[in-house]
C-alpha cells in the first residue's frame, strides 16, 4: 500500500510547490522555531510530527498567515512571497483545516463552502441555485459520501463536517491543504473515509501537510515525514525508509523501551458505585463499581455517549434516574460544586473551553478548586497559593517561564498538565479523565500514563474515557464497553484485546 501511494513522487521530475527556508520565530521567552526548513512536492503528503511545543503549530500558523516569521524565506512555486495574513494565504492557495472545525453550525453546507464569496446573479443577489450545484459538484470530486448541500452543518457528523472543510479549501483552488490533527475526533470508519479522500486529492495534484500524533497514520498515508523537536528540524525522511520506533526516537530524543506498562492490582473495597444511572434519550441503566486504586476504562466509538455519562457523573447534564454511592454512602450530585465537594475530580475532554481559563495565569489556573482552603474569611493567602502552584509545576514538570505566564502561551501538552494538576489539588477520591491524551504528543502521553498509574497506586479510583485502544488496554484493569448509551459488557483486562473491544463497540458481540 505504501509503495502504491509513493509511486506518484519522483524527486527528479517533481517540482516544489512550497519551500520554507531557515524559518525562525521567537515569542517572548521562547524560541518557537529556529532555522527550520520544510518543503513540499506537488501531489505529496508530507507529515509533520513532533511533541507538543516542538514548533509544528507555529510553523503552520506562519504558513497560514496567522503569525509572521521573524527570519527565513518562503517560496511558492519558486516565487518568493511574504504571507501577509490569513486571507492572503488563502489567495496564495494555502488552506488550513484545524483540529477544531471552524464552520458556522447554524447555516447550510453550501453556505459554509461559499462563506466568503458567494456566487451572485446578474442583479447582485446570491445565486442559491448555482451555489447549491457548485457545492454538490465540489463535494462529489473527492468524497463518495453523500452530503446534502442544503443540510445544516450542525446536523452533520464530525467526519462529514471535515469534508465540508475540505470542500471549502477546494473552492479557493488551494494547492496546499494543511490538516492539523484531522483524525483526533474521528472514528475508525471515518478515518478510512478520510484516507480515501486524501488519496483522491493527491491524484488531483494537491499537496497536503499532515500533522498527527498517531504515528500509524503516517505510515498509512504520508510520502515523507519531517520531525520537529524544540523548535528545530531534526530530520526529513521518506516514510518507506523509516519506522515507528525511529520516529519516536527522533521526536523525544531518547528511546522509550516501553510506552505502556502492565496494570497493577486494585483493592477490594468499592469507593464509587453507580446504579441504574439514566438520562432519557441519552444513556440508560449505567451500573458499575469502582474499587480503590482501580483504573477503569470506558471504551467505545465516538458518539457512544461515554462523555455524556462522565459529565452527568460530575453534575453536568440532566439525570432522569439512578443512584451514586461514594464509599457506600448515597450522594446527590446536582452540579460540579457538589461533585467537587464529594471528592470527584474531572478532567474535561475539551480543555480549551472547559478545562482552562486561557487568558489567566498558570497560577490562577492551578488553584481555583482550592480557593476556600487557601483563604481565611474570604481573603486569599497569596504566599500559600504561590507555594502550592510552584509545587504543582514541579510535580508535573509543567514547562512555563513563570507562575504568572498566561496559559494561552503554553503548549497543548503543558496545558493538559495544568488541567490535571488542578484536578488533583483537591486530592480527589475519584478522578474522571475524559480523553486525557487527546492531541498530545508521545512523550507527554507516556508521562500522563505514568501519572495515572502512580495515582491509582496511592489509592485513587480512576475512570478513563479513551478512544485509543492501546491507551485503554495499556493502563486499565477493567474495561467497560459502551454502545449507544448502554453498557455492552464489562471486561477484565485478561479477556480484553483490540478485537473484542472493537466488536463490542460496533455491536457484533
Amino acid at each position: 500500500m505504501i509503495s502504491n501511494l509513493t509511486q506518484g513522487i519522483d524527486m527528479g521530475i517533481n517540482k516544489y510547490v512550497l519551500q520554507m527556508n531557515n524559518i525562525s520565530k521567537n515569542f517572548p521567552g521562547v524560541k518557537a522555531l529556529e532555522n527550520v526548513s520544510f518543503n513540499l512536492f506537488k501531489s505529496e503528503v508530507h507529515a509533520l510530527v513532533g511533541e507538543n511545543g516542538a514548533g509544528k503549530s507555529t510553523l503552520i500558523k506562519i504558513l497560514s498567515g496567522l503569525y509572521q516569521k521573524d527570519r527565513g524565506d518562503i517560496f511558492i512555486d519558486d516565487a518568493e512571497i511574504n504571507i501577509e495574513g490569513t486571507r492572503h494565504a488563502i489567495e496564495l492557495g494555502i488552506s488550513t483545516i484545524y483540529q477544531e472545525i471552524a464552520l458556522v453550525e447554524e447555516i447550510t453546507v453550501a453556505e459554509n463552502i461559499f462563506l466568503s464569496d458567494r456566487p451572485k446573479t446578474n442583479r447582485g443577489l446570491i445565486d442559491w441555485k448555482k451555489m447549491k450545484s457548485r457545492a454538490e459538484d465540489i463535494l462529489n470530486t473527492f468524497s463518495s459520501e453523500k452530503i446534502e448541500p442544503g443540510e445544516k452543518v450542525q446536523d452533520l457528523s464530525v467526519a462529514r463536517k471535515y469534508f465540508v472543510e475540505i470542500a471549502k479549501a477546494l473552492i479557493h483552488k488551494s494547492k496546499i491543504i494543511i490538516m492539523d490533527e484531522s483524525t483526533a475526533s474521528l472514528s475508525e470508519a471515518e478515518i478510512n473515509m478520510l484516507y480515501d479522500t486524501i488519496k483522491t486529492l493527491k491524484n488531483q495534484g494537491i499537496s497536503i501537510i499532515y500533522i498527527s500524533h498517531r504515528l500509524d497514520e503516517i505510515f498509512e498515508i504520508a510520502d515523507r515525514v519531517s520531525v520537529l523537536r524544540d523548535g528545530k528540524l531534526i530530520k526529513t525522511v521518506n516514510v518507506s525508509e523509516t519506522n515507528k520506533d525511529e520516529l519516536i526516537k527522533y521526536m523525544i530524543g531518547r528511546d522509550i523501551s516501553e510506552m505502556y506498562g502492565k496494570g497493577y492490582k486494585y483493592e477490594k473495597d468499592v469507593i464509587f458505585k453507580v446504579e441504574n444511572f439514566s438520562s432519557e434519550g441519552v444513556f440508560e441503566n449505567i451500573s458499575f463499581e469502582l474499587h480503590r486504586g482501580e483504573i477503569l476504562g470506558f471504551a467505545g466509538l465516538v458518539g457512544a455517549r461515554r462523555t455524556e455519562i462522565m459529565r452527568a457523573l460530575f453534575g453536568l447534564g440532566k439525570i432522569t434516574s439512578g443512584k451514586i454511592f461514594i464509599e457506600d454512602k448515597p450522594v446527590k450530585i446536582r452540579n460540579p460544586a457538589d461533585a467537587v465537594k464529594h471528592g470527584i475530580g474531572f478532567v474535561s475532554e475539551d480543555r480549551r473551553i472547559e478545562g482552562l481559563v486561557t487568558s489567566m495565569s498558570v497560577k490562577e489556573n492551578l488553584t481555583p478548586l482550592i480557593l476556600d482552603e487557601i483563604s481565611y474569611l474570604g481573603l486569599l493567602k497569596k504566599g500559600l497559593e504561590s507555594k502550592i502552584a510552584q509545587k504543582s509545576i514541579k510535580d508535573f514538570s509543567i514547562k512555563t517561564p513563570s507562575l504568572n505566564q498566561l496559559v494561552m502561551n503554553l503548549s497543548g501538552g503543558n496545558q493538559q498538565k495544568v488541567v490535571m494538576a488542578k484536578g488533583l489539588t483537591i486530592a480527589p477520591k475519584i478522578l474522571i479523565l475524559d480523553e486525557p491524551t487527546k492531541g498530545i504528543d508521545v512523550g507527554a502521553k507516556a508521562e500522563i500514563h505514568r501519572l495515572i498509574k502512580d495515582l491509582a497506586k496511592k489509592g485513587m479510583g480512576m475512570i478513563i474515557v479513551s478512544s485509543e485502544m492501546p491507551e485503554i488496554l495499556g493502563v486499565c484493569q477493567r474495561i467497560i464497553s459502551i454502545r449507544n448509551g448502554r453498557i455492552v459488557k464489562i471486561f477484565n483486562i485478561e479477556e480484553a484485546n483490540e478485537e473484542v473491544l472493537l466488536k463490542a463497540a460496533a455491536g457484533y458481540l
Binding site: G29, P336, L356, V357, S359, L371
Partner: protein, 323 residues
C-alpha cells in the same frame, strides 16, 4: 547568553508595560499639554476641583468595573442613583444615619433586581438593565412626585458633600476609600478571583464548581451599592435632589471604565485601569472647562473619546486573538 536573556526580559517587560500602561501615558501627556495651554490648570485648587468633579462618576465607575469584569453591563446605574438621591433627601427628617442606611439598602436591592434577572434567570444584561433603567427612573419620578426635593441646608448630612478632613474634601476621601476597597476585593479575595474566572470563561467557571449565578448577581449589587454612595455624596453636596439627575452620569461612568482599558468582553480589567480612565476623563473635562469650551462641544469631544476608547479596546482584543 545572559545578555540575550536580559534583553528578552527587557523586551517582555516593555511589552507588558506598554499594553498595561499606555493609557497612563496618555494621561500624563494630556496633563502636560493642559498645563502648558493654561496656567490655571496645574494648581492645587484646580486639582481638588477636578477630583471633586470626578468623585461622583468615579465611585460608580468602580462598581461598574465589577459588572464588566464579570462579563455584564449595567445601564441602570443613572436611574438607581436618581432613585437613591430622592430617597436620601426624603428620609432626612428621620435622621441622617437612618437615611443613609436605608439608601444603601435601596441601592443594593435595586442592584439585586438586576442581578437576579441576569445572573439567576440568565436574561440578557443589555435588555434587562435598559428596562430597569426606565423602571427605576419612573420609580424616582413617582417617589418624588416629579419635583426637586430640598434638604436641610444646616444638616450635618451636608458634610459628606461639602466638608473636608485635613484639607481634603470628603467626596475625594470617599472616592479613594471605594477605590482601595474595590482593589482589595478584586485582587485579594476569593470572590475577586472567582469573578475574573467567571468573566473570562463562564463554562469553565461552572465546571470548576463556581456558583456563577451568585457571582454575577453580586456584581450588580456592588454596582447598586456604589450608585447609592454616589447618590448620597451628590445629594449632600447639592443639599437637594432632582428625580432625573443620575442620567447624565451614565455616559461618564462608561467612558471612564472603557477608557481605562477594562474590556467589554469580560474577565479583564482592574481598579488601576479604571482610576486612570476616571482621571483622564476628569482632566479632559476640567481642561475644557478651564479653556471655556462650550457645553455642546464638550459633549462632542467626550463622545469622540468614548468611540476612540472602544476602537482601542477592540484593537487590543484583536491583537490578542492574533497572537
Amino acid at each position: 547568553m545572559s545578555n540575550g536573556k536580559l534583553e528578552k526580559r527587557w523586551k517582555l517587560f516593555l511589552n507588558n508595560f506598554l499594553s498595561n500602561y499606555s493609557i497612563a501615558f496618555v494621561l500624563i501627556i494630556v496633563t502636560i499639554v493642559m498645563s502648558v495651554i493654561s496656567n490655571r490648570f496645574f494648581t492645587i485648587s484646580n486639582l481638588f476641583n477636578m477630583l471633586r468633579a470626578v468623585s461622583i462618576f468615579g465611585i460608580m465607575a468602580f462598581g461598574l468595573t465589577f459588572v464588566i469584569i464579570g462579563g455584564g453591563l449595567d445601564l441602570s446605574i443613572g436611574s438607581i442613583m436618581s432613585l437613591c438621591m430622592i430617597n436620601v433627601i426624603l428620609l432626612q427628617p428621620h435622621g441622617v444615619f437612618f437615611s443613609i442606611i436605608i439608601t444603601i439598602i435601596l441601592g443594593l436591592f435595586a442592584g439585586m433586581i438586576n442581578g437576579v434577572i441576569i445572573g439567576k434567570i440568565g436574561a440578557n444584561a443589555l435588555i434587562v438593565t435598559l428596562s430597569t433603567q426606565i423602571l427605576f427612573q419612573a420609580a424616582a419620578l413617582i417617589y418624588s412626585g416629579g419635583f426637586n426635593q430640598l434638604g436641610d441646608p444646616d444638616s450635618p448630612f451636608n458634610i459628606i458633600g461639602s466638608g473636608s478632613v485635613i484639607g481634603i474634601p470628603v467626596p475625594i476621601l470617599i472616592l479613594i476609600g471605594v477605590m482601595i476597597i474595590s482593589q482589595f476585593i478584586l485582587s485579594n479575595t476569593v470572590f475577586g478571583r472567582r469573578l475574573y474566572i467567571t468573566g473570562s470563561n463562564k463554562r469553565a467557571a461552572y465546571t470548576l464548581g463556581i456558583h456563577t449565578s451568585n457571582i454575577v448577581m453580586s456584581t450588580y449589587m456592588i454596582s447598586g451599592f456604589t450608585c447609592a454612595i454616589a447618590a448620597i455624596v451628590l445629594s449632600a453636596r447639592l443639599t437637594s435632589s432632582q428625580p432625573t439627575s443620575g442620567a447624565q452620569y451614565l455616559f461618564d461612568v462608561f467612558t471612564a471604565v472603557i477608557l481605562g482599558g477594562t474590556t467589554l468582553a469580560g474577565g479583564k480589567g482592574s481598579i488601576f485601569n479604571t482610576i486612570i480612565g476616571i482621571l483622564l476623563l476628569g482632566v479632559i473635562s476640567n481642561g475644557m472647562m478651564v479653556m471655556s469650551v462650550s457645553f455642546s462641544y464638550q459633549q462632542m469631544i467626550k463622545g469622540v473619546i468614548l468611540v476612540l476608547a472602544v476602537i482601542y479596546d477592540s484593537y487590543v482584543r484583536e491583537r490578542q486573538l492574533a497572537r
